[in-house]
């Protein structure tokens, strides 16, 4: 406090001194201002931004690790040939400055930028692109999920170097999400070649690597990493991108990620002014909203987020080879397979109540398989199931489910009590709360629901190998490209949870959805693609293999010190990080 007072006094003194010279100073200032007004805009450089993350990065190797804790860091160190604009969701050039499609979509020729340097000073060329694909992603000794994306019907892309700055990709079949998937990070050949040759790539660029050895082309480079404490990234002086005003980007000097162990510590640190950004849970809103002015921050509500939570019933009609019967009790299976049963359940779920109780009103009902925020392919015109208990009861009654012996629990046609188990994973309090609300809702319908929260891996093994479950509440992170969810929607997919890995589609509608995904991936015309994926979302809403609940709003609080901030639900607050600058008065 004392120090500050002194400073104030000093300022006052100089101000008084200056007052005497005011006319002169004013003239000089006016002159300078007129002279340099052209440059005045570019005084945006410097400053630092402090963020928090609740877990350590697992690696600095973007081919090996894909968790958000890792990609939050690798996403700013490395770049791909294209990128998705965080605001418009369009694909825009990145390391490739342009591209052309040949042979009806089977060949894509990328023209690379020739002004890109790796952080160690070497030039970025076509060899790096070819190395990343041929030696890393397609290397059989390196397990990675990118290979799954870039392998279509068992066939890989062929890469051809035309010259140092031109690469041709030859595809086995047409692949509509090709351009979007080209955001795959490109890694430097000169730095990693030896590791690949010695078969050590799987252990390269882990978190124990010296920061200066991690070489990228992105706007920032790794400076320091203290496990469990913080990650410091500093501006890459060789970064190629320039702003519209010809400023060399990025503006901000340093990015510091503090690693905190819990979201509550994160919140306290944000309130304390130590960090500049906080992603709100619905329950934090009433606490933070009144502090906006005093805490000098703004809360942005950008709309629905992408992470869905849904209820799924076991519709697995396959026979368990060990027992010779279905995986679950055949009575239960017959209820779940009954579409009226699922529709009644959908009508009985009070989504508004979930939003009110869990999210303080800051959530959105989800009806489509894609989030409202996913842009072009989102279909709002699907069948919606409003909360209506009477209607739900009526549907059940017409389908033969009602209370026959007045014990408060409904029975099916054969007199079996409708009782089943509902699971979710114990790690997510949000899902546990949703489950208990849904359980209550279903009890109102007269169903007896036994709820249990299981350890995540236990739940996964039920979903993917033992199949001994009745109903589960689980979620998936969505995206803007429907094809990347193929593993869920295709009836042969491992994540086709209600009936995984079918040899051939069990129902007519599953057959149609398989057809849509096979067609959609090869359809290069966006309008025609949209028609297909619209139909898929409609079918899911009609057949209800999954019953969607709510999407939390994507809300976050950001300190009022940034310029060029354009928050969106897809990109968050800092998707245009390199263009964001810190306002002069907030820079120290």
């Amino acid at each position: 406090m004392k120090k500050q007072d002194k400073k104030q006094n000093n300022n006052n003194l100089t101000f008084l001194n200056n007052l005497k010279k005011l006319p002169f100073v004013a003239v000089v200032f006016l002159f300078i201002f007129v002279c340099i007004s052209g440059f005045a805009e570019s005084d945006k450089y410097g400053g630092q931004i402090v963020l928090a993350t609740t877990s350590d990065p697992r690696s600095f190797n973007p081919v090996l690790a894909k968790e958000t804790s890792t990609t939050a860091i690798t996403g700013i160190i490395f770049e791909g040939l294209t990128r998705t604009n965080g605001e418009t969701l369009e694909i825009e050039p990145n390391l490739a400055e342009s591209w052309e499609i040949r042979q009806d979509g089977l060949s894509w020729v990328f023209r690379l930028r020739n002004d890109v340097f790796w952080t160690d000073g070497k030039k970025f060329t076509a060899d790096d692109v070819i190395f990343t694909f041929n030696e890393l992603i397609y290397n059989p000794n390196i397990p990675n999920s990118s290979r799954d994306i870039f392998t279509i019907e068992g066939k890989t892309f062929q890469l051809k170097k035309i010259d140092d700055y031109t690469v041709e990709f030859i595809l086995p079949v047409k692949f509509a999400p090709f351009l979007r998937s080209m955001s795959q990070e490109i890694l430097p050949k000169h730095a990693l070649e030896n590791a690949v040759k010695q078969n050590k790539f799987n252990f390269t660029w882990g978190t124990d690597t010296s920061p200066k050895d991690i070489i990228g082309t992105g706007p920032y480079q790794l400076k320091e990493y203290f496990p469990g404490e913080r990650i410091v990234l500093e501006k890459n002086p060789r970064y190629w991108r320039v702003s519209k005003d010809d400023d060399r980007l990025p503006y901000i000097e340093k990015i510091i990620y503090l690693i905190v162990q819990s979201q509550d510590t994160d919140l306290l640190k944000f309130q304390d002014g130590e960090i500049d950004y906080y992603g709100l849970r619905g329950s934090d809103y009433p606490l933070l909203k009144p502090q906006e002015k005093t805490g000098n921050f703004t809360i942005y509500d950008t709309g629905a987020s992408f992470g869905s939570n849904f209820l799924v019933f076991n519709l697995n009609t396959s026979i368990n080879p060990k027992t010779g019967r279905t995986y679950i009790d055949k009575n239960k299976l017959s209820w779940f397979l009954n579409i009226d049963f699922r529709k009644a359940v959908a009508h009985a779920i009070d989504k508004q109540k979930i939003i009110e109780i869990l999210m303080n009103g800051l959530g959105y009902e989800q009806n489509s398989s894609m989030s409202q925020s996913s842009g072009y392919f989102y279909n709002p015109n699907v069948t919606k199931y409003n909360y209506d208990l009477d209607k739900a009861k009526e549907i059940l009654k017409n389908a033969g489910f009602f209370d026959r012996n007045n014990d408060g629990i409904i029975e099916d046609k054969d007199g079996n009590k409708v009782e089943f188990n509902l699971f979710t994973n114990s790690g997510s309090t949000e899902r546990i709360q949703i489950a208990s609300i849904i359980r209550k809702d279903l009890q109102n319908l007269g169903m007896k629901v036994n709820f249990m929260a299981l350890e995540f891996n236990n739940l996964v093994s039920k979903l993917t190998s033992t199949f001994d479950w009745d109903a589960i509440i689980i979620g998936l992170t969505g995206g803007i490209e429907p094809h990347f969810g193929k593993n869920v929607w295709d009836s042969s997919g491992q994540l086709h949870m209600w009936h995984p890995k079918q040899a051939k589609p069990d129902t007519e509608w599953e057959k149609r959805v398989d057809g849509i995904f096979n067609q959609g991936v090869q359809e290069l015309n966006d309008k025609k693609r949209k028609v297909l994926y619209d139909e898929w979302q409609y079918i899911i809403s009609e057949e209800l293999p999954v019953i969607y609940t709510v999407l939390p709003a994507s809300i976050f609080a950001v300190r009022n010190k940034f310029g060029n901030l354009k928050p969106t639900p897809y990109g968050g607050a800092f998707h245009n990080l390199e263009e964001i600058y810190i306002k002069k008065e907030c820079r120290k």
Binding site: T207, N457, G493
Partner: protein, 321 residues
């Protein structure tokens, strides 16, 4: 004596082997393995996950996995952490010092406070000082450490005197050595208080009880009857005899050096082993869990040995043959 120590160390080896086997089997009782969490990610194909599993022998029977682990251990290789994509040795080394710093500081702090207060409480039995310290001890014993930590963090956020968790400030690099030391000292206050609160209480009660026991002995009466001054009676005759239970406690506390502070570390964002191991257990990162369990086991055995040796040194009545 040296014979005795050697024998104890020899006995420890089969003990550790059995312990490691039981631990390994117990970890593998939980359904699934580390890579199961990838199965719910639409971007991973089954083949990729199987590839990962075979890379680390997770597709083999548990007992075979155990021997792979044991074989590597003999080469001083603690295995590979799937979760952090890094060798277990490096990860633990990175965090070990931080945890040791916190544990040792709070251990010293606890003992420095608890022993004198225990003595005072015993000497001034049933007087105000005794009652007051008893009250503090009972509060310290009964308050859950995570709650106490949250209370202190709240206090810190309201007053702004102390930093909110972590071990270093964001501007740590720009400080000089003295300022750095001061910075860490500032960060260590809250976790130290939290750990000491409960440890202090127990220790103070033990010190008080055991000193009271001794003060009732005939030889204290003799000492007083000889006309020795009261402080000589207490510090030379009584304390020397009352210290034995404390040495045993010390042995146990030794084993908690690495794991005792886990909960506090997690809440105070202290970059130690606690949060690392919690994440490892939850993700079934087996080699990291094994390494930490083994360290805990070794420390427990070592702690017991150290306290036995200390006992023999402190009390001439105790001899090992």
């Amino acid at each position: 004596m040296i014979n005795y120590i050697l024998r104890r160390i020899l006995v420890a080896i089969p003990l550790l082997l059995v312990m490691s086997l039981v631990t390994f089997l117990a970890i593998n009782l939980a359904p699934g393995n580390f890579f199961d969490s990838l199965k719910l990610d639409p971007q991973f194909s089954e083949e990729t996950i199987q590839h990962y599993e075979s890379l680390y022998h997770l597709d083999k029977p548990v007992i075979v996995q155990y021997f792979y682990w044991l074989k590597n251990l003999l080469k001083f290789d603690l295995g590979y952490s799937f979760f952090y994509n890094c060798s277990v040795k490096k990860i633990i080394a990175g965090r070990l010092l931080n945890t040791l710093l916190l544990s040792v500081v709070s251990l010293i702090f606890t003992w420095i406070i608890a022993i004198p207060l225990g003595i005072i409480a015993a000497v001034k039995r049933n007087r105000f000082a005794d009652r007051f310290f008893s009250l503090i001890s009972f509060v310290g014993l009964s308050i859950p450490s995570f709650f106490f930590a949250l209370l202190l963090l709240y206090f810190a956020s309201q007053t702004g005197i102390l930093p909110l968790g972590g071990m270093r400030s964001a501007n740590f690099d720009s400080l000089n050595t003295l300022e750095r030391l001061f910075d860490i000292a500032k960060h260590i206050i809250i976790p130290t208080l939290v750990i000491s609160a409960s440890a202090f209480a127990g220790l103070q009660r033990i010190m008080r009880g055991s000193l009271l026991d001794v003060l009732r002995q005939q030889y204290i009466l003799t000492a007083r009857a000889k006309g020795l001054p009261e402080n000589k009676v207490i510090y030379f005759h009584a304390l020397r005899n009352a210290i034995n239970p404390l040495i045993t406690v010390f042995g146990y506390e030794f084993s908690g050096l690495l794991s005792g502070a886990a909960l506090t570390e997690i809440i105070c964002s202290w970059p130690g082993l606690g949060s690392l191991l919690l994440a490892a257990v939850r993700a079934q990162d087996i080699y990291l869990v094994m390494a930490s369990m083994m360290m805990g086991g070794i420390l427990l055995l070592a702690g017991n040995l150290v306290s036995d040796i200390l006992l023999a040194w402190a009390d001439p009545r105790i001899r090992y043959e």
